[in-house]
């Protein structure tokens, strides 16, 4: 199977921004339309110091971010996009002092909106810590709609 054109830049898209770099996100793998990134466990990312598990907010960020990667995989192109909304269900506590992986798949792509599902887990997506459903807007999907004044109407 040929790798999609986007594949070589996925590591950069996973961790290249200041925030994803600071959180330690790394690219994991691509299998068809399913893309995975990882956040290694770190003391300063913990939510509950007694339990020693990665904070919910980090999981949310991981799921938001991997969803964007899934959209670029579906487009096989890098285009500006913005998260419209994101819903995360927390199914169970994460394991203490353990890395988390997130996998996402863009299951529907229209001209302007991408619909994504994503899961976060330690070992396998069928035993998720959290599951997400999200929508992204492709910010340059079509030419800017000009106002009537600009269009001379």
């Amino acid at each position: 199977m040929d790798l999609p054109a986007i594949a070589p830049i996925l590591p950069q898209l996973a961790s290249g921004a200041a925030h994803t770099h600071a959180l330690g996100f790394t690219y994991d793998s691509l299998d068809g339309d399913r893309v995975r990134i990882r956040v290694p466990w770190r003391e300063d990312l913990v939510g509950d110091p007694e339990a020693g598990v990665i904070a919910g907010g980090v999981v949310t960020t991981l799921l938001d971010h991997v969803g964007g990667l899934a959209v670029w995989v579906a487009l096989d192109n890098f285009k500006p996009l913005a998260t419209l909304d994101l819903r995360v269900d927390y199914m169970r506590p994460a394991r203490p002092r353990t890395d988390l992986i997130a996998e996402a798949r863009c299951y529907r792509l229209t001209r302007s909106i991408a619909f994504v599902r994503a899961w976060a887990f330690e070992d396998a997506p069928d035993d998720p810590v959290a599951a997400a459903q999200s929508a992204y807007i492709l910010t340059t999907a079509r030419p800017e709609r000009r106002s009537r004044a600009e269009a001379g109407e």
Binding site: L45, G47, P49, G57, V58, A82, L84, D85, V88, R92
Partner: protein, 131 residues
């Protein structure tokens, strides 16, 4: 001033600070370069804003139910309303309904103008220590 935020390493990573008026918390995420998700615009990473909202909601539930260990989110839903500019973000949460086991919480995040929120959160929290 919030036991949740003071004790949370990740809240320190985000630089969160808390102000309190009566029972209501206002949480600030001061701008820092390590919050940037889109260097082109530049804009904050949506995840950092979502995390601020989630932690604000959690801290507000803990404030309102002081007997609990750490309020556990069941689910959170975040709508991104405007790009987060490279400036401070503030957030406040409101417990919309608290039953015996579950609380429904709303929160908003804004930058210069509270009337122009950049993101809004809806969440359910479990009010008992077993999941």
């Amino acid at each position: 001033m919030s036991r949740v935020i003071d004790a949370m390493p990740y809240a320190r990573f985000l630089g969160l600070t808390v102000e309190q008026e009566a029972e209501v918390l206002t949480v600030t995420m001061p701008f820092s370069d390590h919050l940037i998700g889109n260097p082109m615009l530049p804009a904050l990473h949506g995840g950092s804003t979502a995390a601020l909202l989630e932690i604000t909601a959690m801290a507000q539930v803990a404030e309102s139910f002081p007997g609990m260990h750490l309020p556990r989110p069941i689910n959170v839903s975040v709508a991104y309303l405007r790009p987060g500019r490279p400036q401070n973000v503030q957030a406040r949460a409101r417990i919309n309904k608290a039953g015996r086991r579950v609380a429904h919480v709303l929160a908003e995040a804004w930058q210069e103008d509270e009337a122009q929120p950049i993101a809004a959160l809806t969440a359910h929290f479990l009010l008992e220590d077993s999941f």
